[in-house]
Symmetry: C2
Subunit: 277 residues, 2 copies
Amino acid sequence: MHYGYFNGTIAPTDQLAVGVTDLALLRGYGLFDYFLTYNGRPFQWDWYWERFQNSATRMHLPLPLGKNETYAILMDLIERSVGAGAASDMAFRFVMTGGYSADSISIERPNLLILTEPIHPVPTVQYEQGIKVILDEYVREMAEVKSTDYKRVILMAQAIRSAGASDLLYQKGGEISELSRSNFFIVKGDKLVTPSRYILHGITRRTIMQLAQSDFQVEERPLLLSELYDADEAFTTSSTKKVLPITQIGDLTIGDGYVGPKSKFLLERFNELVKNW
Amino acid sequence: MHYGYFNGTIAPTDQLAVGVTDLALLRGYGLFDYFLTYNGRPFQWDWYWERFQNSATRMHLPLPLGKNETYAILMDLIERSVGAGAASDMAFRFVMTGGYSADSISIERPNLLILTEPIHPVPTVQYEQGIKVILDEYVREMAEVKSTDYKRVILMAQAIRSAGASDLLYQKGGEISELSRSNFFIVKGDKLVTPSRYILHGITRRTIMQLAQSDFQVEERPLLLSELYDADEAFTTSSTKKVLPITQIGDLTIGDGYVGPKSKFLLERFNELVKNW
């Protein structure tokens, strides 16, 4: 069983509920964050907290808790959840909304949810064979803020399935930004290129850029669709996906269509880092 | 006290709550609709139901209720709410979400809320003096679907207040679309012009276009910012606002800055219609 926190109350997640005048529910006004624990410790906590704070500031929502206070809640939730039979590593989902609103438009006081969830690992076969994604002409509104707006990928679920793909790769006017919930990289020789704008700045992305520093020339810049044609490898990063190879983008096969050595190398580096977290 | 319906259960609104794995809460995947009753009867019910159905189809959400079944619920909610002391006329808010999701991304079965709410009438002074709006370079994603995405206007609340304005008027590349929650019209001589695209097709807009038919030449077409300069009058329409005059748009005064006779005439026509609804 998993435990969660809602505005000061801690309870099993399935007993938590949000009133019907909440502005995320009625008006889509919410932000979130999501990260995993390794060895029972939140991974890259400092960076996630900083990002959560930034999202809150950008959406004019005052944080009701400080960093240390929040960390104590995380530890409490881990302890209770593990005590109730959850696996020792889990995911945290923060959700902060505009709160309950008497006129269904004005912010009064934010609602803050901190949920623990089981980790849904990516199937091994996807690491072995790579995934297929399809291109989508789209760019997220306020992409740099982790708002709750993920309408697009849910709306496109059928199109993704029909194409035998796993996800969308967003591009607009020929410039690539990100996948629906993860960042994008290509490998070309010793160069690692990742889009610099219209993206959410992923913490796993940041971790990989740091881990890659000694072996790659890392370029953070606008990335064009045309550059996919001579990429050796491509992969996506997120807390759940880690370093997940992409071998097909629409009709285009990346490199020779097999998972490449550099994606494997970076995944190994990442796995080493988290093993000792 | 007001009553609401949630997935088959009817209860006082403040006793209704939504579980924390709901996709509107976590992912912004929801649609809604909103309308008033007059003389205890839902105004333009056929048109609202048709729009709600269209929004649901566009968001791939199967409606769990038919039209007559839903109407019976509305009547039940009115009776219970009035019995518990609510005013005889009220507002209905439909909210349909992607439902509870085990993996926080896949749709299983939608959640449907039908809430009754007190009507918040526009202050009389705004009809007498008209309102000020400010221009915002923005266009709603999937504007023709009444999704729950109203982040923009909540985000801009401070900017609106600072300008002494009541709302935003969206434009993109010089083409006007709509206000944040209502439609836009200008009057020029005997012409009534309202934007044809990038808008939610309002039911009050449709009602006004019908009521205006015999006295105006009604033009539904792209409307440019430059046309504001020689407009005689401007107004906005919504179920709550009815026909609300706009006398200032940013720094621009519309016409002579006073509420014009044609806006007043259309408001009177609308008030007559609803009086006998």
